[in-house]
């Protein structure tokens, strides 16, 4: 029974992955001849023909598709026209810088958002609750590119405390992480709060209180684990926000990461690099979603024991 859940999710992840790779292929081919898009307009027809043969673009479309898969599976996804190096290498060497930015932002979101949400739920309708929820709504209404600029204005231009661009030290990391993590922290705080409030009203929590179970036990052993389940979904969703947000944040703070590489590749139409970037993002999103499903599976006994439903209230 429970194995079926895992296989179904795995199958779904694989199908989505195949679709994503196909999507990239379709987009890149739908736009017309990639050779013409890359070469200057005055290139002689012989050279164009040579390039097309070299890249297998004279083959029927289904053969191109197969070759494309072959390349994708071997990690050979073309060469950057500007750097003259394999696109995969270019992207991969920028990944550590992006992780250096996104991983702390992710933990910032959780470390700020989860306790704030719990606190607001416990002090519901109080001043604390109002302040936290006000900050939360403002936080996710504030576009990250503007937040970055505000931070630069305050901490770099006015106070001269933090460097406004570049990477290399912990001080360089502060503003980008705030920029990238604030909106997510706001969303998570709001979500945790609502999830907590809902769980607190369930019969099993009220029954525990009625039985005289100490308050901190009710909180940590009964309410929190149950409230955490829906929060897992939103945390998975936040990964996507982080990836999109890192493009903006890296641009604002001149951070040498993969997001800026992707944006530069889009502007200069370096299609091989774009292709690798998009595939990598798609793969990491699909892996994330699958992981979220599996975590769900582990923490939610209802899924493990197969009923798939059954409400506590």
């Amino acid at each position: 029974m429970n194995l079926r859940f895992v296989t179904r999710k795995l199958l779904r992840a694989l199908i989505t992955l195949v679709l994503a790779v196909t999507f990239v292929f379709v987009i890149l081919r739908a736009a017309g001849d990639p050779v013409l898009a890359m070469l200057p307009d005055d290139t002689s027809p012989e050279i164009v023909e040579q390039m097309r043969q070299a890249w297998g673009l004279d083959l029927p479309i289904w053969q191109q598709y197969l070759r494309y898969w072959q390349g994708a599976l071997q990690g050979d996804l073309g060469t950057s026209i500007y750097e003259g190096r394999p696109a995969v290498d270019l992207v991969l060497e920028r990944i550590p810088q992006t992780l250096l930015l996104t991983v702390p932002s992710f933990f910032f979101m959780l470390i700020v958002g989860v306790p704030a949400g719990i606190w607001a739920a416990l002090r519901r309708n109080s001043g604390v609750d109002r302040v936290i929820m006000s900050i939360s709504v403002s936080g996710y209404s504030l576009p990250n590119f503007f937040l970055g600029i505000l931070l630069i204005l305050v901490f770099s231009v006015q106070l001269r405390l933090l460097p406004s661009a570049g990477s290399g030290s912990a001080a360089h990391l502060v503003m980008p992480v705030l920029t990238l993590g604030t909106a997510g922290a706001g969303v998570i705080a709001r979500f945790v709060r609502s999830s907590m409030l809902e769980v607190m009203n369930k019969h099993y929590v009220r029954a525990a209180i009625a039985r005289g179970v100490p308050r901190h036990i009710v909180l940590t052993r009964i309410a929190l684990p149950n409230a955490a389940i829906p929060v897992i979904t939103i945390v998975g969703f936040m990964i996507g926000t982080l990836i999109a947000g890192s493009i903006v944040t890296e641009t604002v703070f001149a951070w040498p990461g993969a997001g800026r590489l992707l944006l530069d590749a889009v502007s200069s139409r370096d299609l091989a690099v774009v292709q690798v970037g998009v595939m990598l993002i798609a793969t990491s999103m699909i892996v994330t979603n699958f992981t979220v499903d599996m975590v769900y599976f582990l923490v939610d006994p209802r899924l493990r024991y197969g009923s798939g439903q059954g409400e506590g209230s």
């Binding site: 994503a20 006000s134 996710y140 231009v157 607190m200 209180i209 308050r215 139409r269």
Partner: protein, 300 residues
């Protein structure tokens, strides 16, 4: 303390939206938000009439004038930019473009998504599977990445393509909502009755099921609208959205970024405008959600 007694959930929920921004009573706050949006709409519609100067008029002798300053031509409420152009006039035209893109974009997403949802619900079988696989694919990718991939191929600068693409953002949520609600509505008495009375598929879907799921769709639109504004301004900020000589709030902000040291207002004015507009839209959206859709569990 921990669990409040079985709360009157509906009225409780209605009061929650007020508290997002603290101390103002709920009605006042929503009214302020409405007033701000109304102001934005008026500015958007009459931008060309209201703008005190031509938004493209360059005056290099009056570069980077601070807010509330005057020059030979007149008064500049929000100062001038690096080419001596009036920031207020540029702001008004930018609001026009940004709101237009957001509005058209939201409608495109709603119409396309809803139609796809209807088709999936009607066809079932393979078509339904394919649509749902695409919905999964879309939901697993940040939309901005897909938009970037398309622009990498098609090139930037085509405003029509940009609006169409930005509009597609969120289609999968409309499709999912429509499909799900249609599937359950088809089995309800009213849809079956219309069909028994001889109503065709189109009539059943558009005349009878659509009005019943409209509330959920409108709620989704209030969520989608600020997201579309943010997507457009972010893309324009990154230089892959609206291109000069057209201008959007994102463009203004990205120019302002280069002059933070000497002219903070160039970035602050459009930035605050985006912030207030998305904030107002969130507040109004919460209100609409409470009014229209008491059955949906709001996120608070």
């Amino acid at each position: 303390m921990i669990a409040s007694p079985a709360a009157p959930a509906r009225s409780e929920r209605k009061r929650l939206s007020a508290r997002y921004l603290g101390w103002a009573p709920r009605g006042t706050l929503v009214r302020i938000a409405f007033a701000w949006l109304l102001l934005m709409i008026v500015v958007a519609v009459f931008a060309q009439v209201l703008a005190p100067y031509d938004y493209q008029a360059i005056n290099l002798r009056n570069r980077l004038l601070p807010p509330f300053s005057s020059d030979a031509l007149g008064f500049h409420l929000f100062g001038t930019d690096h080419l001596g152009r009036d920031v207020l006039s540029r702001l008004m035209v930018s609001i026009q473009i940004s709101l237009l893109v957001a509005l058209v974009g939201t409608l495109i997403g709603a119409i396309v998504g809803t139609s796809i949802g209807f088709v999936a619900a009607r066809a079932r079988g393979v078509v339904d599977d394919v649509v749902m696989a695409l919905v999964d694919l879309q939901a697993s990718m940040p939309f901005m990445i897909i938009a970037l991939a398309v622009f990498a191929v098609a090139g930037t600068g085509n405003m029509l393509l940009f609006i169409l693409l930005v509009g597609f953002q969120g289609w999968e949520r409309y499709a999912r909502i429509t499909r799900g609600m249609t599937l359950s509505a088809v089995n309800h008495g009213y849809a079956a009755s219309v069909r028994l009375l001889g109503g065709g598929t189109f009539r059943v879907y558009v005349r009878h099921i659509l009005p019943n799921i409209l509330a959920a769709l409108v709620v989704q639109m209030t969520i989608n609208f600020p997201e579309t504004i943010l997507l457009e301004t972010a893309m324009s900020f990154l230089g892959v959205g609206i291109q000069p000589p057209n201008t959007s709030l994102g463009n203004l902000l990205s120019y302002g970024r280069d002059y933070l040291l000497d002219a903070w207002w160039i970035a602050m004015v459009p930035g605050m405008t985006i912030f207030f507009t998305t904030l107002a839209m969130s507040l109004v959206g919460d209100w609409v959600r409470d009014e229209l859709d008491p059955t949906t569990r709001t996120t608070d």
